[in-house]
């Protein structure tokens, strides 16, 4: 790019001009911010204002702009100029809306605005325009791993959108678990009866679609590359392998039923008349609408008991702690198999809490009751094979009594175990074990060997990272299909337990995301949440110490290592969160438009008053995803907070480099607040691990503070949700109070 030409535009609309001395702000932009010019406008976001800016850009007067108006989250359409760098000074939500319109407050409010002008000028000075990396690829072909309900639907959706799909199915036939069903839980009104599974039709559609290729008896033995240019080896059972290129991948590897032999109290395996839900489907298929027969002697089943939550929603060793979500509906459906064939059959569902999710769930439950299925609230303790029949021992929780109930058949509603491949986070632990003695080795052997699903050629591991209970990690609130491997989408029960209806919806969502990902990758654009961002990280090789922190901490496995063990940034896999930048101890990693300098210089640009002026300065580093909007909304609600605060938005708390904190302290800031998203297993961090890493890093900041002889209260880290509108001003005001208590920082110069 040509020389940086800096210019500032100061809006006087929305009351900014009434509350602030715009002339003074313009002067500061020119004098201190060193911009070439500073124009004031009464209504900058209207067509006249926008035209004025565009004319300046077209005339070559400016290519680095400071727009001092409202929040960067407002009017982003109006202030969207191409091929220029823009920094926004938030004078509206960040200044006049959070300060009282009083004579007393006038001075400090003006100072606030002046600092935001200084910060924006400093930031824009260090910004560069992102340019495409030229490593993009475009392959309009999606790899679908798994040929069950999810995979079939995903492939069909992809094909319908005009893209190619390849299904890799491990078994000899398509259809997965659903192909084993006699009928499915209804997905259409009136939600009254079991419905044809439709799986045969689905398979037929897939097989006759010329945009879909199917590999049966096949697995993915190697996956390498990145979104837009994945390469996968698809190996047949016979040993032959084909390699193909794909733009993106959907992992629909489904589930395995929980192993019911782990429940000795229910005697699974001891009598053929005790089955799990898939076992019952097989019996129903055999009966094909007629009376269902007992496996032991072929006698018609006259009474059947469904034991819900068998080995699930239980904290017992070896049990599943979670609810598989479909089993209550499935048992109701299966009880109807009996009732529909013969209303005189006693069908009892033994539950502790019934859960009938989905739009038609409650209707289906009612229909079951209507057909005479008995729902009994009770806990089964034992199933005893008993000569010709089975005795179910349970405690009736309503009548509060122990009951022995004889039945011809018992169905155990066991849960879903995800088919998610290798737990990559468990690998380093095993490596450590290897150093130890034989005992540790025995432990490693004892764990069931799991085959990888994707065989990713990533330094971070062969499969998708998991969150809890072996399900693949995905942003469960905002971006359910998005995994921590960009361009690879998890859908169906591998992501969380679900039924066919949900799996079908999941497949559609993942298909659309997969298409979006490969198109974005071709243009060098980021996937969510910085969709469309063209910037990507690069590093200064001569400064790099090959410490590997960036490669390890990247939540998305986007950074490999080259032969010399330098980081190898993989643009298409990168989500642009900047966690690598925050991690780098020598600060060599940066984005064109977001770097240690852009934020660091903005912080340094704040004018810190002398100690005796009694005007402390508080720095807030606020995540732009949740904390910054929460702060904006506090402004919209006209909630007041301290005028001593200066807020700098960051892409993710994970991108916060500790140098910003130490520099701010050295510059005389009295307090620093870091605001990120919720971390942990139920995280809300938009970059999954960013907030967590930042919290870990900041837990070590106390040593630095002690070295500087500062109180540890001066630096605080918070988890903020976008709804914390009342809380954010409170946190700021609390910090102001704390500083009043402990005194001003001694590090003012």
């Amino acid at each position: 790019m040509a020389d940086k030409k800096l210019g500032a535009y100061i809006c006087k609309g929305c009351g900014i001009g009434d509350r602030l001395d715009a002339g003074q702000l313009a002067m500061i932009a020119k004098k201190e911010g060193k911009v070439g010019f500073a124009k004031q406008h009464d209504f900058l976001c209207n067509s006249d204002g926008v035209k004025m800016i565009q004319a300046d850009i077209d005339a070559g007067e400016v290519n680095h702009l400071v727009v001092a108006a409202c929040s960067r989250r407002a009017k982003s359409d109006a202030f969207n100029f191409e091929n220029v760098a823009i920094s926004r000074a938030n004078l509206r939500e960040g200044v006049i809306w959070v300060r009282p319109d009083t004579d007393d407050a006038e001075e400090t409010t003006q100072e606030m605005a002046e600092d935001y002008i200084r910060m924006a000028c400093a930031e824009v000075k260090y910004m560069n325009l992102p340019a495409p990396s030229e490593e993009q690829g475009l392959v309009r072909h999606v790899l679908v791993v798994g040929g069950g309900v999810t995979g079939l639907n995903a492939a069909l959706e992809i094909a319908k959108a005009g893209y190619l799909a390849t299904i890799v199915e491990k078994n000899g036939a398509l259809g997965g678990a659903a192909a084993q069903f006699h009928k499915r839980i209804p997905n259409r009104a009136p939600f009254a009866d079991p419905q044809d599974s439709g799986i045969a039709d689905l398979i037929e559609q897939v097989e006759s679609n010329n945009k879909i290729t199917v590999h049966l008896n096949a697995t993915v033995t190697k996956t390498s590359g990145a979104p837009g240019r994945f390469s996968a080896d698809i190996s047949q059972e016979s040993g032959s392998t084909v390699t193909d290129n794909f733009g993106s991948i959907i992992q629909a590897s489904g589930f395995k039923p929980y192993d019911a032999t782990k429940l000795p109290e229910f005697s699974y395996g001891k009598s053929p008349d005790i089955v799990d839900q898939l076992g019952l489907e097989a019996l129903a298929k055999q009966a094909n609408g007629g009376a269902i027969k007992r496996p032991s002697d072929g006698k018609e089943v006259k009474s059947v008991v469904f034991v819900q939550c068998a080995g699930q929603r239980s904290d017992k060793e070896g049990h599943l702690s979670y609810c598989s979500g479909h089993c209550c509906l499935t048992s109701t459906k299966q009880a109807m198999y009996f009732k529909d064939a013969n209303p005189d059959v006693d069908a009892m569902v033994l539950y502790t809490e019934l859960r009938m999710p989905g739009a038609g769930g409650e209707d289906f439950y009612r229909s079951g009751q209507n057909k005479g299925v008995t729902f009994t609230k009770g806990i089964a303790s034992e199933v005893v094979p008993n000569g010709g029949s089975l005795t179910v021992k349970f405690k009736d929780l309503i009548l509060d009594e122990e009951v022995n109930y004889d039945a011809d058949l018992v169905v155990l509603a066991t849960g879903m175990v995800p088919n998610s491949g290798v737990n990559i986070e468990a690998v380093p632990a095993e490596n450590e074990d290897k150093k130890d003695d034989a005992e540790a080795k025995a432990e490693v052997v004892a764990t069931v060997p799991v085959e990888s699903i994707l065989n990713l050629d990533y330094r971070q591991g062969a499969d998708l990272p998991q969150l809890v209970n072996g399900f693949t990690d995905s942003h469960f609130i905002c971006f359910p299909y998005e995994t921590r491997r960009t361009g690879i989408y998890a859908a169906g029960p591998v992501r969380r337990p679900m039924d066919m209806t949900q799996a079908t919806e999941d497949a559609t969502g993942a298909a659309l995301k997969a298409i979006q990902a490969l198109e974005n990758a071709a243009l060098g654009r980021a996937a969510h949440p910085r969709s469309g961002d063209l910037s990507f990280p690069s590093f200064r090789k001569e400064g790099c110490t090959q410490c590997k922190r960036c490669t390890v901490e990247c939540p998305f496995g986007a950074i490999n290592e080259d032969e010399q063990r330098y980081p190898l940034f993989n643009e298409a896999r990168c989500r642009r969160c900047g966690t690598c930048m925050g991690a780098c101890p020598v600060r060599v990693i940066s984005f064109e438009n977001y770097s240690v300098e852009t934020v660091g210089q903005a912080i340094k640009a704040v004018e810190v008053p002398e100690e005796d002026e009694e005007k402390p300065r508080i720095l807030v580093l606020a995540c732009e995803n949740d904390a910054y909007p929460a702060l904006d909304m506090a402004g919209m609600n006209r909630m007041e907070y301290s005028a001593f605060v200066r807020i700098a938005p960051v892409r993710c708390l994970g991108s916060v480099n500790t140098i910003w904190v130490t520099d701010a302290l050295n510059n005389g800031f009295d307090g620093i607040i870091l605001m990120g998203c919720k971390k942990g297993d139920d995280y809300q961090c938009h970059f999954v691990k960013g907030s967590e890493l930042a919290h870990t890093r900041m837990s070590k900041i106390d040593d630095t503070l002690k070295q500087l002889q500062l109180e540890t209260e001066r630096v605080q880290t918070y988890e903020i949700a976008i709804t914390d509108i009342q809380r954010v001003p409170q946190i700021i005001n609390d910090m102001a109070e704390t500083i009043e208590k402990i005194g001003m920082s001694p590090l003012k110069f």
């Binding site: 009474s303 439950y365 009751q369 209507n370 009736d396 309503i398 009548l399 009951v403 109930y405 004889d406």
Partner: protein, 209 residues
């Protein structure tokens, strides 16, 4: 198998539920209860029920015929309709309770000295005799329902209430002779007789089936 065991096994069969569905007013709703317990918590006399409605429904499903029909629970219903108003499944619980009470009474299984059972019968007798209820006779026969000595005691206890009503002309001693009634008593009795016959015929049909 021991008798007791046979009994425990048999009681969970659905037969009693079917009996209730066929014979008890609104009985076909019993299977639709989802066991939330809102009815039990909403009942003004809830603490006095041996088995609150939620439990009664479960007992019916569990086949506890004698315990349900012999229970005094249903007779505790004040007909306040709170359970109906609040039931998320919209079960006509009040009517089911009345229906169960009536069914138990008809089968002779209702508790012997259940006061509400007696009062309700007296009420019915009073109205079906003349077409309208005679409050004085209703009150007096109620006080004497447990025999003469008890009746005198109750009457004395309730004397003040009676005097209050008498003084305000809201009780008429002349009601004891003659009193109010429908003109077409015959027609009314014929109607009730016929209705009863139709109902009995239906019940008999189920017994045979």
């Amino acid at each position: 198998m021991s008798n007791l065991n046979t009994a425990t096994v048999e009681k969970y069969r659905n037969n009693f539920l079917r009996e209730v569905e066929a014979n008890v007013e609104e009985g076909h709703w019993v299977k639709m209860c989802m066991q939330c317990g809102v009815c039990s918590g909403s009942c003004p006399l809830g603490p006095h029920w041996d088995h609150p409605p939620q439990k009664i429904f479960m007992m019916i499903r569990a086949g506890k015929r004698d315990e349900v029909l012999g229970s005094s629970s249903m007779w505790m219903c004040t007909s306040c309709y709170n359970c109906i108003a609040r039931c998320p499944r919209e079960l006509p619980i009040t009517h089911i309770m009345h229906g169960l009470a009536h069914y138990a009474k008809r089968l002779g299984l209702a508790p012997k000295n259940q006061p509400t059972k007696k009062f309700a019968q007296i009420f019915w007798d009073s109205l079906s005799k003349k077409g309208r209820v005679n409050e004085l006779k209703l009150g007096l026969s109620l006080y004497f329902m447990n025999g003469f000595a008890e009746g005198v005691k109750t009457s004395l206890k309730m004397q003040k209430v009676g005097m209050g009503m008498l003084k305000t002309k809201r009780m008429d001693p002349l009601e004891i002779v003659g009193g109010h009634g429908c003109k077409d008593k015959k027609g009314l009795q014929a109607i009730l007789k016929k209705a009863r016959e139709i109902e009995d015929a239906k019940a008999a049909k189920f017994q045979q089936a």
